[in-house]
Amino acid sequence: MKQFEKGSYNLDYSTYQLSGLVVLRVLIGWHFLYEGIAKLLNPYWSSAAYLLDSKWLLSGLAETIVSDPVLLSISDYVNMWGLTLVGASLLLGLFSQYTALIGMGFVILYYLFAPPFLGLEFSKPGEGSYLIVNKNLIEACALWVIYSFPTSHIIGLDRFFSNLDSN
């Protein structure tokens, strides 16, 4: 078995492993892509509502962003386009290893802006029941897996850009 090296492609997967990882990558890509496009298509969408309900460590930062129109508009654009591009990248397998990290950054921020911790009350009811662990945290971990076990050089457009000689 080949040695795992961070950021390298020196991994051999069984078909099952590869299928699982690619499906995970594609599904998360789909999710990001639609989250981004839905925001792009909605002229009334703004990150303000989410930020205004922020609790814990980053609530001060959230307030700063919401109270400054320029920062808020940057936050909106970064979210809309960030999610869209990360999504398309994961789905198509183009630069996926890097965008997996960026995507992980996004969901970790979403988690930290509104963590389901004991004693924090949010005005918007959640769609499920969470104690410390929520779907954002799990998606962040899933993206960590996608970063650590890259697949786009095997199944994905990255295949045309890298490692052509290795397979």
């Binding site: 594609v26 789909w30 892509l33 789905l91 198509l92 095997i154 199944i155 457009l157 295949r159 045309f160």
Partner: protein
């Protein structure tokens, strides 16, 4: 032979390369197809909703400018707080009001009072009679009838002052009256006006008693005048729209209606001070 095999192998490898590289592109295509379907469905849902909302039997009445041959002469009976408001709705405001409103608009761009007044339809009317017991109020009414700052520009005529509504009703040049006296006078003055052949816009409440209401109804029927009671909220488009929305079942069955009004101030309850120069001796 071996060359051919090599060639075949290479072609197969190339094809496999291509397929693996593009393996998830169909998923992207599937995403786009579903995105398009969702967008179309949402747009359809929205347009259906809007179509339901805007299904109107008729558009709200808009009075366009009347030709000169249909110029109407108005009289106001009771030029107090409400009376002056109604007369402004007909296109006549005192110089004091237009000066203050334009000054407010100059100071605050969000203050649209003056703009709204100036942009209302020119109803092709003149205010030629003002009936009020209070000299100050009557003078203000006459001032309003002359004010050139109004939709339609300089008024054709100015108003004559009357101390009794019967005197005003004797003026044959007056086509219609606005009645904005204290409530207990509404029915009597409205019937007198109808009998004098004047069309009537009468403030609410209409009458004090049921019998008065019947009398007034009969008088209006007999004289054939046009009568409107000042329930202006009935004509507000928002209320019409709300009625349509409920009728069309967009809200489902209504099982609770909550209403609230807040008039917890003397101003809100229409307890207004008498003008300092009001001739109190008559009260």
């Amino acid at each position: 032979m071996s060359d051919n095999t090599n060639q075949d192998n290479k072609t197969n490898t190339d094809r496999r390369e291509l397929l693996k590289g593009l393996a998830t592109v169909p998923v992207f295509g599937l995403f786009l197809v579903n995105l398009w379907r969702k967008m179309r469905r949402d747009a359809l849902k929205k347009s259906n909703l809007l179509a339901d909302l805007f299904q109107e039997k008729s558009a709200p009445t808009v009075i366009s400018s009347l030709p000169d041959s249909r110029h109407l002469n108005l009289g106001i009976i009771g030029y107090g707080g409400r009376g002056s408001h109604l007369v402004r709705g007909a296109g006549f405001a005192t110089k004091g009001w237009t000066n203050a409103a334009s000054e407010n608009a100059r100071k605050n761009k969000l203050d649209k009072g003056f703009e709204t007044f100036m942009q209302q339809e020119d109803l092709n009317v003149s205010l030629i009679g003002v009936c009020d017991l209070f000299d100050v109020r009557a003078d203000q009414g006459i001032d309003a009838s002359k004010n050139e700052v109004r939709p339609g520009g300089k008024p054709l005529e100015s108003a004559t002052r009357y101390r009794h509504h019967e005197e005003l009703l004797k003026n044959d040049d007056i086509d219609a009256v606005i009645i904005a006296t204290p409530d207990h006078w509404h029915a009597q003055i409205a019937m007198d006006a109808a009998n004098a052949g004047k069309h009537v816009y009468c403030e609410k409440g209409l009458t004090r008693t049921f019998d008065e209401a019947i009398d007034l109804y009969d008088t209006v029927q007999r004289t054939g005048i046009t009568f409107q009671l000042g329930h202006q909220n009935r004509q507000v488009e928002a209320n019409e729209k709300a009625k349509q929305i409920i009728r069309q079942g967009l809200l489902g069955d209504i099982n609770l209606v909550e209403l609230a009004t807040n008039r917890n101030s003397p101003w809100g309850a229409w307890v207004w001070d008498i003008h300092p120069e009001g001739n109190r001796i008559l009260i």
